[in-house]
Amino acid sequence: MAADLTETTTAATPRFLAQLRPHQIVLGLFLLAYPLIASDFWIVQIGAQTLFLGLIGLSLMLLAGYGGMVSLAQMAIAGMAGYMFAIFGENSANLGLGWPWWLVLPTAILFAVAFATVTGFLSVRTEGIYTIMITLAIAVAFFYFCQQNYAIFNGFNGFAGLKPPQVFGVDWRAPYPFYYLALAVAALGYFGVLYLSRSTFGIALQAIRDNPRRMAALGFNVRAHRVAAYALAAVPAALGGLFLVWFNGRISPGTINVGAAINILVIAILGGLGRPIGPFIGALIFVLLDNFAIDLIARERFNLVIGGAFLAVVLFSPDGVLGLWDKLKRRLAKRGGA
């Protein structure tokens, strides 16, 4: 750490790579080699789904962990990107505008960012639990709007027949390409958020989380920072949302209902809001429970299992699995030192 302070002139990226610790490299290699040892089910259903749900969770982690703003609208923002992909691109109902993929993808992400910015403008007027209430209201309002509106969002049915664009002649929905694409984008999101947290903006955001009045007195525009955080957090959410519609092949209001919005919160809290790896851990637990709750009790009782796990975490370990891990590490270090 001390070396960091002196090396101010070196480029950001190499120093960034030099900071990778051994367990991160091992994990990275494992994730790269994972498809070689896993079946298609484990590659796509577990692997890729964990990665893109983690991305949506990551956007909440960025807002809540660094900005202190718990937003329940992140799933709606992801859904916005998914809907825009369906509307501007192609879908099976021939309702799409059929734009080329290199135009559709940025448009979808831009719409999500715009939606998030509006959400940010509305919710930064409030704090703490009010933020949860307002973002939840926005998310539910968006859900009902999509469900009732047939002119743009095709109402209850939504859009089907969505698939990733064919680029470089690769079928990106096939297990291997889909997994590696999700892995690449998740890594981009992970390192992007890590980089952001150490940038001037990220430090200011964390300072605003800790003491908004002092930061305002120091001349920082508290609201502008918060709105910018919403806009930035929309990017991983939008990317996750695109993978979600590619994975499901469809999007309908059910994709973005309250349950889905809460699931993202569950994912982020289960893993822990302290570090960007948290939501990915949370997503892994969530996806595993989702697929194997059938073995624990019954398939229909999945919500009971995940709700119970969530309750246990918020009641006994507010920092999530990451908090448990840190506690364990501290205890081991203490024993080692003694």
């Binding site: 718990v70 307002i134 209201a137 309002a141 009902y144 709007f145 009782r301 919500n303």
Partner: protein, 286 residues
């Protein structure tokens, strides 16, 4: 003209229902700073319990009483077992109530399955009433409106004219000072929570009779409570009434005149209030 009046009346009765649910939510939040995001689940649980009681006893009135009492008890237990142990940690309380609402929704699905239930009010309360312009209107909906107004006035009198109400209002303004004057604040909290929760249960049975009950209604009423409270202001009965009226009207007029954009009006009201009065129409600045 007929459509307008009919929509107006429907808006009024929906507002009455929203008021019943949201006033409890707003009261609990105003006094204890707990956002009870399981409030919608309490509504649905009350409706289901009321349904079961009606099935067993055959009496609609017992069903209403059962819904109120059972949910008041659940509220009391929530307050004693959970909220009391996390005072001041509002973010954690919020998370816990979200977790509870997930679990409760699934338990209710387990017990009462995913069917839609409807039950009948007693004959005196049903039927139609002759009304000017709209010709006839559902008697039961007018009963809901009347009940809601009566409860609203009763709550207002309770809060403004009785000693306990005075303590609750004092608690809204300054909890520590109230405790310092020797008032048993935990007891006041428990009573308020029980009343607020009980109202949700009551609204569940009454509303379930007018409309129907099915999984998912919990979310609808949670959203209604949230928006009504955001618009009306926290901890204010009058605010909850104004908010409920605005949202109920917006929803019904939206549904009648521009069905695909109905939700937008509700949303616009919330946005306008947040833009010009972030603390809500009747809310006090924290």
């Amino acid at each position: 003209m007929k459509l307008f009046l009919l929509t107006f009346l429907n808006g009024l009765t929906l507002a009455a229902l929203y008021f019943l649910v949201a006033s409890g939510f707003s009261l609990v939040f105003g006094l204890m700073r707990n956002v009870n995001l399981a409030h919608g689940s309490l509504y649905l649980l009350g409706a289901y319990i009321g349904y079961s009681v009606i099935r067993w006893t055959g009496s609609w009135y017992l069903g209403v009483a059962g819904g109120f009492l059972a949910i008041a008890l659940v509220g009391l237990l929530l307050q004693l077992l959970i909220f009391r142990h996390m005072e001041g940690q509002d973010m954690r309380q919020t998370m816990v109530t979200i977790g509870l609402s997930i679990v409760l929704a699934d338990v209710m699905l387990w017990i009462w399955s995913g069917n839609t239930y409807q039950f009948e009010a007693p004959d005196i309360l049903t039927g139609t009433v002759a009304m000017p312009f709209v010709k006839i209107y559902s008697m039961y909906r007018l009963v809901i409106l009347g009940t809601s107004i009566a409860i609203g006035i009763g709550l207002w009198l309770f809060l403004n004219k009785t000693p306990i109400g005075m303590m609750i209002r004092a608690g809204v303004d300054d909890r520590a000072m109230l405790a310092a004057t020797g008032v048993n604040v935990p007891l006041v909290f428990a009573v308020t929570f029980a009343i607020g929760a009980g109202l949700a249960g009551f609204a569940g049975v009454v509303g379930g009779t007018a409309l129907s009950i099915a999984p998912g209604e919990d979310v609808r009423y949670l959203l209604a409570s949230l928006i009504v409270t955001i618009v009306g202001g926290m901890g204010s009965i009058v605010g909850a009434a104004i908010g409920a009226l605005l949202i109920g009207m917006a929803e019904q007029f939206g549904l009648a005149y521009s069905p695909t954009y109905g939700v937008v009006y509700t949303f616009l009201i919330m946005v306008l209030v947040l833009a010009f009065r972030p603390q809500g129409i009747m809310g006090k600045r924290a």
